[in-house]
């Protein structure tokens, strides 16, 4: 198994190289440059020209790419044009924020979705099932950013229950109050993300449970004289959760990607917000670094899913 995982990681190398070239080229293809309008709206075009030149932005793309790769291997992703600090430091400061939010959202999502999916599947066609399905359709129909904006307006401004910006309150001091403040800041985006991110899991789990209920092995269990509640516990739930468990690998990277919306609306200083800002400022070094990280995370997520699946499903063995 370890061999296979190592091999899969090695296979990822050419994928990452191709990805990085694509990302690099796309970033370059964007109109505009990092300097116009950002330093000073009335900056001298001559000076911008000069800045472009000393930063090597007039070189052929492959030369620029090559410089970038060489620096990459020195652990140097360049400096942000916008923030004037090393990209590595810029991103690492924000990665933790994003990770906290993503993890919290994911835990909440599963905590909401699993009971709902199982309950709906078990009581297929009855009132609770109808309500849960209605709920998932509604959350599916409303665009996520609308929910975020509505949520922040109602709970943040009207009621004032939650902070509407940032990742930590400036008055927090001491580790307890720091953690408390951080948690307080991710509470509303986490809950909203979870409440409205359940639809896929609920629907999938529901249909898995319904399939399992009428499966032959459940009929076998019934003919063994196993009581209904034990059949659900020992046969139906475990078998229905299997594809969901395997999905977890993808969903964590999905959440990292999805953080772009949440972080923008909540002005939450994570990778997503950084990404959006860098695009508007043509901050090439940051864009390429972030896309590369997202790309690698996606590849790792796929691998993670395969590994989880091979652990929980005896029929699949990575060999």
């Amino acid at each position: 198994m370890w061999k296979t995982i190592l091999r899969r990681i090695l296979i990822m190398i050419p994928e990452v190289i191709i990805l990085s070239i694509l990302v690099f080229l796309l970033a370059k293809a964007m109109p505009g440059d990092p300097f116009t309008g950002s330093i000073n709206p009335k900056a001298d075009p001559q000076q911008i020209h000069h800045l472009m030149k000393i930063n090597g932005l007039y070189d052929p793309w492959y030369q620029q790419y090559w410089h970038w790769v060489v620096h990459l291997f020195h652990g140097n992703l360049g400096n942000s044009y916008q923030y004037q600090e090393p990209v590595t430091r810029l991103i690492s400061g924000r990665a933790a924020n994003t990770l906290w939010l993503a993890l919290f959202t994911m835990i909440l999502t599963y905590a909401f979705a699993l009971p709902m999916g199982v309950y709906a599947g078990r009581h297929e066609g009855k009132l609770p099932d109808t309500i849960i399905r209605f709920y998932t359709y509604v959350t599916y129909c409303i665009p996520f950013f609308v929910i975020l904006v509505l949520g922040i307006w109602i709970f943040g401004y009207v009621f004032g229950w939650f902070p509407t910006t940032g990742s930590i309150s400036s008055s927090a001091s001491g580790w307890l109050s720091t953690i408390g403040s951080r948690f307080y800041h991710i509470l509303l985006p986490g809950i909203l993300g979870a409440l409205f991110g359940t639809v896929n899991i609920v629907q999938y789990l529901r249909s898995e449970v319904i399939d399992a209920k009428s499966s032959d092995y459940v009929r076998t269990a019934r003919s063994k004289g196993v009581p209904s509640k034990d059949i659900y516990r020992h046969h139906i739930f475990r078998n229905s959760l299997l594809p969901i468990a395997a999905f977890a690998g993808y969903s964590i990277t999905g959440l990292l990607n999805g953080s772009i919306f949440t972080e923008t609306v909540f002005s939450y200083p994570g990778m997503g917000l950084l990404f959006v800002n860098s695009i508007s400022y043509r901050d090439y070094t940051v864009i390429t670094a972030l896309v590369l990280i997202y790309g690698i995370l996606n590849l790792l997520g796929t691998l993670l899913s395969d590994i989880i699946l091979s652990i929980v499903d005896p029929r699949i063995r990575i060999e």
Binding site: K3, L6, R7, E319
Partner: protein, 324 residues
């Protein structure tokens, strides 16, 4: 010259292992088989699941990549794709599948299903095409209103006949029938088998009839090959195989067919258990040291068996004594 000559056909699937995923071994699904199908005959290919009989069938239609060996159709090797298209092979050779529901496109109407091979190979006008489809439906005994229905609206037997209608649409010379009746009830099975025989009489079609059911094979086939773990263990006429089987594997298969003669059931069971005992105890006599079948040895103009020459001759003469 036979219609189809299969010569030393091999289909191996690679097994990849290790860090670099290199081919370390192979599954020898079909491992060097040779037989001929004559024009207008039904050739039976019999074996248990995993014997390689379906793989053989798919190779003959060109659905399987052949590792080595040749399949000559009218003297031309059709394992090469260029030869298949030059000969119109895909028009002359059609296939009937076991599962008629999953082999018919559920979203297409019967008219389109049956007309599909016509559209591929013949350029008919709309009216000609419709007339031909109606003729085909008539041949398989379905009403004209079937044209606008979908596969799920038919019973298993009707669907299987639709599969047959599609297979005969282009006037093929050879039909590969892979377990065509094993999913069907007895009365429907009778219908499909009768019908296959009827169109054979009318159009001179040859069948490669692949089945595990020796009762059905006896009813349908003139010549039969018994397949075991990718190799042929015995080939012969119906009489050779059913009345003078030589290889223990053939005997074992025959002994396992349930008989409807209740009065003989104890005797039949005893003989089955006796054959099973020989099969278990005398593996080394009937298989080589690797547990594989020996090369085929001819014991009569029609009958060959996969045994060392001395044993084959000895068994054949014993059979001959029994005959005399």
């Amino acid at each position: 010259m036979s219609l189809v000559e299969i010569k030393d056909l091999k289909v191996h699937y690679p097994i990849r292992t290790g860090f670099w995923n290199r081919i370390t071994d192979s599954v020898r699904a079909v491992d060097g088989i040779t037989f001929n199908i004559e024009a207008g005959e039904t050739y039976g290919l019999v074996g248990e699941s995993g014997s390689g009989k379906s793989t053989t069938g798919k190779s003959v239609v060109g659905l399987e990549k052949v590792t080595s060996g040749s399949i000559l159709y009218k003297g031309v090797d059709i394992t090469k794709k260029a030869n298949r298209s030059r000969l119109d092979y895909n028009r002359d050779v059609q296939m009937i599948f076991q599962d008629s529901l999953s082999s018919l496109n559920p979203r297409k109407r019967i008219e389109d299903i049956i007309a599909e091979p016509l559209r591929n190979f013949e350029h008919l006008s709309k009216d000609e095409e419709k007339l031909r489809v109606l003729q085909l439906l008539d041949i398989v005994g379905l009403d004209a209103d079937a044209l606008y229905k979908y596969p799920h609206q038919f019973s298993g037997g009707q669907r299987q006949r639709i599969g047959v209608a599609r297979a005969v649409a282009t006037n093929p010379k050879l039909i590969i029938a892979d377990e065509p009746v094993s999913a069907l009830d007895l009365s429907v099975q009778a219908q499909v088998l009768n019908f296959m025989k009827k169109i054979q009489r009318e159009f001179g079609i040859s069948y490669l009839f692949i089945s595990h059911d020796l009762g059905v094979v006896r009813h349908m086939c003139n010549n039969i090959a018994i397949m075991n773990r990718g190799r042929l263990v015995e080939i012969g006429t119906r009489d050779d195989i059913y009345n003078h089987p030589l290889h223990i594997y053939t005997k074992r298969l025959l002994a396992a067919i349930p008989e409807t003669n209740v009065n003989q059931r104890m005797a039949h069971r005893a003989s089955r258990l006796a054959v099973e005992k020989i099969y278990q105890e005398q593996q080394s006599k009937y298989y080589d040291e690797n547990g594989e079948a020996f090369p085929l040895i001819q014991v009569s103009p029609t009958h060959s068996v996969a045994l060392p020459e001395t044993i084959a001759k000895q068994l054949a003469s014993q059979e001959g004594e029994v005959q005399a």
